[in-house]
Structure formats: C-alpha cells, structure tokens
Symmetry: C2
Subunit: 397 residues, 2 copies
C-alpha cells in the first residue's frame, strides 16, 4: 500500500541547501574541536542584539489587555502599524505610501511567496540577476512560474543591460532584485535601476505587459559609508517592495515584514486584492500580533550595525593581505570572494580542512565564488587569519 506524494514538494523537502549543510558540518566540528577553533562563516544570522526598544516594547505591551494583545488582527496587519510604516517611508523617501498599499507579513520570505503567488500564472517567468537567493526558485516554482537567471556582470555585479534585456520574454511577469544583495553585499546603483526600468518599459511597449519589479529588501538598513540604496518605486512604477524587520531589528525568528505596492503602480487595488487572496491561500491568517505592535513602537529604530561595518573592513583587509580577491561589499553582512580555483565547491572543501566554512556560490547561480557571512564576533575573523593565510598559500597566492 503506497501513497503517492507530490514529487516537487518532496524534492523541496529533500534538497538540503549548501548553506544548511555547511552550518551543520560546522556545528559538528565545533562539538569535536571546540567552537573557538572553527571559523564558521556559513549562516546569515544577525549577530548583534535587537535595539533595546524591542524588549522594552514587549515589557510595556504585557500590561495591555490579554485578549486584544494576543488576539487576531486583520489579515493585512494592524491599521496603526501600517500607518506607522507608511509614515516612515514617506518621511524617508517621499514615497506617497498609504496604509492601504501595505500588507504586513511573516517576514520577507512570506512576502515573496505571497507576492509571487499573487501575480504569477502557470508558465510565467520570473527574471533574477545572479547571484541570487536560492529560495526565489522555490517560491516561483511553487506558484507555477519558472525562474530565468541573468548571468552576473563580474567585477561589480551591477546590471548587465544586454544580458538582462535578452532574458525578458513575452512570459516575463516579474523581476526580483535583491539590494543590498545576498550573497554579494552589492547595492544596485541608481544608474543600474534606472536602466532596468527603461528596459522594462521598452519591453512593455512591445509586449503590452509591464512586468512587476519585486524588490527584496531585508538588508536595506545595513549599508556602510553613506552608500545610497535607491527607493525603487520612485524609479519604476510597477514595483512591489518586500521588506523584513529581521535584519534591521535583529529579530529574524519573530517573522515580521511587509509588502508595499508602490504609489505609481497601475491597477494597484487589483494587485492588493490578489495579495490578500494569496496570503489567505497560503495559510497566513495574520502576522504575529505581539510583534506587529513591537514593530509599530520601534519603527525606525535599527540594531547597532556598526559591528558589521567593522567586520567588513577587517575581513576585506585580512583577505587581501594574503592575496585573495574580493569586491568590497557595500551592504548586508556578506562578502563574495572569487575562488582561486574555478570550482568553488572544491575550494570550499579545501577551506574546510582549515576549519573555514565558506559557502560555494553555485547555489546562488554564481559559480567560482564563495560567500563569507561576516555577521560573527570580530574575534572570529581575527582568529581565522592564520587559517586564511594557510589556505592562500596552498593556492600559491
């Protein structure tokens, strides 16, 4: 007696991400040889505490009436939270945002899964720029879409206009951009985004259909040295922003973020209805109620990310000192380093022998690189320098 289960769902459950596998290997090594001897750069877990505001808000909220504090909210999230988000965006970006264009979600992953479900028809294509976060493929395929990958523009990972234009087709329903980028830490420049908008409009002129631009922005607040992260809805009318408080407030486990439909989006009411329908269909009743109120009270407060900046500088200089080649990341907490041999998987294996956990770029659609997550104590970077030097020497750097 056998039961037939859906192959695709099984495959998603089975496929172990490279990142998780490496993190689990790291955990085993730590148990074996001591945590201080393992240089675990595998996971993108924020390593700085939440701003004090978060726990203070929780403590205050506990004095409220239990039934309303822990009760259901509207599916789109508390109106007061949505108003606070709109006001924050309007103050910072002149966004002309309103509460009615905002849909609060269980983090950015839910925002992306819901957004794609809201817009994709079977067979539609979703264009992504490599390197890209591997879950995009899962979310797109789960909604009947297919991912189309634009090869990276090596050197700076900005927009490769020709390759981007070539990836568009009559089936292109959406483009996902992730800036600051996981895994490269690169921020897409205003110029790149403006050219992207022009190309998409020209494409729409030919096909009659304006693709959605879905901006995955959990790292918006994590940028260093005054780099501009352009507010994309101001550059392209058909933009949806998927945001998360996970990284900016260091609360990734609490699952709170939102979808914002840009002020110039055509037919935005229809899109909003579809977002509501998608959220309902995927089983999201409402985002966690306590943390909706926490986000409302703490909006605009950012965890102290200065540690990430110091880590970036220390890591970049440490890598360059021993001969590795790296693009200095402008944001997020990842550094994308060129592998000294073409096979980044082999390089990652070799690094493991020095207890260095570096994630190969292959899963991000960008072979030949490794991702180094520097959301770690600075002391780990310092301690890793000897291992990095030995690794570089093996490659004759």
């Amino acid at each position: 007696m056998s039961v037939k289960l859906p192959e695709q769902t099984l495959a998603w459950g089975r496929s172990r991400s490279c990142i998780r596998e490496l993190a689990e290997y790291a955990a085993r090594r730590k148990a074996e040889i001591g945590a201080e001897n393992v240089f675990d750069f595998s996971l993108g877990n924020p390593s700085v505490p939440a701003p004090d505001c978060v726990n203070e808000a929780i403590a205050e909220l506990l004095t409220l009436d239990s039934v309303s504090l822990h009760g259901y909210t509207t599916a789109a999230g508390l109106l007061s939270l949505r108003e606070a988000i709109a006001q924050n965006l309007n103050e910072r970006f002149d966004a002309r945002m309103s509460a009615y264009r905002l849909y609060v979600t269980c983090g950015a992953a839910a925002a992306l899964a819901i957004s794609l479900r809201a817009v994709l028809l079977p067979g539609d294509e979703v264009v992504v720029l490599a390197p890209f976060f591997p879950e995009y493929r899962v979310f797109a395929e789960a909604s009947g879409g297919a991912l189309k990958v634009v090869p990276p523009r090596e050197g700076d990972f900005q927009l490769d206009e020709t390759a981007f234009a070539a990836a568009l087709s009559e089936k292109t329903k959406a483009v996902i951009v992730n800036s600051p980028n996981n895994p490269s830490g690169v921020v897409l420049s205003r110029g790149s985004l403006e050219r992207m908008a022009e190309i998409l409009r020209a494409h729409a002129g030919k096909t009659g259909s304006l693709p959605f631009l879905i901006c995955d922005e959990p790292y918006r607040e994590l940028v260093y040295g005054g780099v501009e992260v352009p507010y994309v809805p101001a550059l392209y009318e058909n933009t949806m922003v998927c945001y998360s408080f996970s990284k900016s407030m260091s609360i990734p486990g609490e699952r709170i973020g939102y979808i914002a439909l840009g002020a110039d989006m055509p037919d935005w009411q229809e899109v909003y209805v579809s977002v509501m329908g998608a959220g309902r269909a995927l089983g999201y009743v409402n985002p966690p109620s306590l943390f909706q109120r926490v986000a409302e009270r703490c909006i605009g407060r950012i965890a102290d990310v200065s540690q990430y900046r110091e880590n970036r500088d220390l890591l970049c200089s440490s890598l360059r000192a021993v001969g590795f080649e790296c693009i200095e990341p402008q944001g997020a907490f990842y550094l994308f380093m060129r592998s000294p041999e073409p096979d980044a998987m082999a390089f990652s294996e070799r690094a493991k022998r020095h207890e260095l956990m570096l994630v190969p770029g292959d899963d991000f659609g960008c072979p030949g690189y490794v991702r180094i997550a520097y959301c770690v104590p600075a002391s780990q970077i310092e301690r890793s320098r000897g291992a990095l030097a030995l690794l570089a020497r093996e490659y004759g750097l």
Copy 2:
C-alpha cells in the same frame, strides 16, 4: 497596458466571508447605537485571557540573550518544544509521539495549508463532512485539489456512513475532520471515528491507496462535561493532527500550532519530508521564535474555559426558552441553531433587525442553520434575551 493576474487568487482575495461581513456590519452598528445594544455573535475570537503562564513566560524570556531569543530556529521548530509537545501527547494519549514526527507551524491554518500541499497532487480530492470550516476549500484548491462535501447527518452531525462511503473515490487523497467542530460544537464520537477508519481501510483495500485523515483540532481542549475527544491517530493509522494553541491558550494572533504525524503512519518519514518541502514552498521560515518558547514553557496550561461552558448553558436555555431548536454543543464555542425558516440567510437578515448577529450556515456547507459564537461576555447573552424573544415571536414560536 493591463497585467493579467491569477483569477483564482483574485477570487480568494475578493470573496468576503459571511462571517467577516457580518462582523464588520456589527462594528458599524456598535459605533452607531452603542456596543451594549448590539448582540454580536459573529466571530470566533477567544474572549478569555491567556493563562498567566503566557505573560510570565514572556517576561522571563526577555532576560535571555537577544540574539538567540529572537533568532531563527530550525524550520520544524525548536527541538525542545517538539520534545515537550511529544511528551504531553504521550502522557495524555499514550501517543508514541516523537519530536521527529512534529512540525511546528504558524497556527492551525498554516498546518492545514502545509499538510494539504504536502500530500495533494493535482486533481486529488479532499473529503469533508458538512458543516465544515470554509477555508478548507481554499487550502485544498490552492494545492490543486478539489473539495468533496459529505452532506450533514442532521440531528446529531455524527458520521453518515453511507454518505461518507459514497463520497470516496479513486481520487480521494485526504479526509479532513474537525472535532470539536466549528460551526456545530459537536464532538465526533469514538464510534463515528472507528466506522470512518473501517470505511477508509475498506476503500484502500479496493483502490490500493490509504487516504490521509487530517484532524483539525484547535478546539480539542474546549469540551464540556467530560465528553471524550478521541485521539484519532490511535484509531486510524494514516492520521495527521493539525493543532493550534490559539484557543487553548487564548493566543490566536500569535500563530503557533503544529502538525503531528501519527505513530502508525506508513511512510511517515516521506510524509515529513514533504511537509518540510511544503512549509518551505509556502514561505514559512520558522514559527515565531518567542512564542515557540512560550508554548514550550506553558504546555498543558489552558486558559480558563469555564466561562465558555457557562455561556453555552445560558445560551442554550435562553434559545430553548423562546422556542428555538438547538443541538447542545459539546465543545468549542459555537452553537449551531436550526433556522426557523429554510433560508438561513433570510433568517440572519431578520435577526439583524433585532441587532442579533447570527452567521448563516450556508458558507459551512450546511444551509438551514445559523452559527452563534458564544465566546462573548455572559452579559451579552443576558442582554440579548429580549431580542431573541422578539425574533422567535416573529416566527410564531
């Protein structure tokens, strides 16, 4: 320039549930004539506070390290929480449950959406017994399945064996039961469940495929007068339980529940892999981390549900006193009353003129009845008696 959005998702976003519409009408009336003059029985919102343990646990947890307290957990939920759940089930039901058969979710809705996504292939059928919670249709269709409704056995809403057997087909992949039931408050008897198991096994003998029995049990802890809620995995081997702490701990907004794969489920590891894949595909990264720890610390603690029992008794006697016909609910906080005219929608409209908000059963697959949610202050039931008497008189009761 128009964008084509998925029709089904739009429809789910557009379709206003009867319940929500009535609740919003009630809110408008309250603003117009004062809350004390509106008898709002529309919503299934717990009306009793969370057990003290919940806020105490939160306050204690705030002393923990912020990075781990608010950080990501494994997708399946903290091992320590899953162990606590397994232990609780084993103590109560001799369940032979283990942490590795448990997958923690953002409440029962997520558990159901994920379970159906994990098992359904396009075209598969999901059998439900009327009356049933309307979201089952959305979740089933969102995963490519179709709902097949077994008409209610009027009088007691137990299993109609003939009708149930007739609803099964070669396409039947799953059956959903909801006991204690929303909207009827009825608890499926051990006899009903045993007969259901026999029928499903006989069906499997013919078709070669054993359907999943998905038990939606958010109301398990809300039963009155010692009524038994049988532990279904002990009666039928291919059972998945979808549980939520929403009602038992009065924390519906916080979204915490689980999927449990019964100890005798064939190929349970495969099913678990598919559950993991489905959760990933629907955008669930992990259930909210703070409330995972709250659930772990408070497991087994139940909100004081004695108020619901008192409400049930008061409501039943009030309805019967003026001539209405009702099945005494054994659990949950709903009463399902026969409409004195065949058209329950018309009856609900007429009740509104007396400021009584009663949800027609049509959306639950059971016309001719109205649902009365008695998770309200007892004073509301008392104040509503005059209106109920007037309404009854209109029908010559």
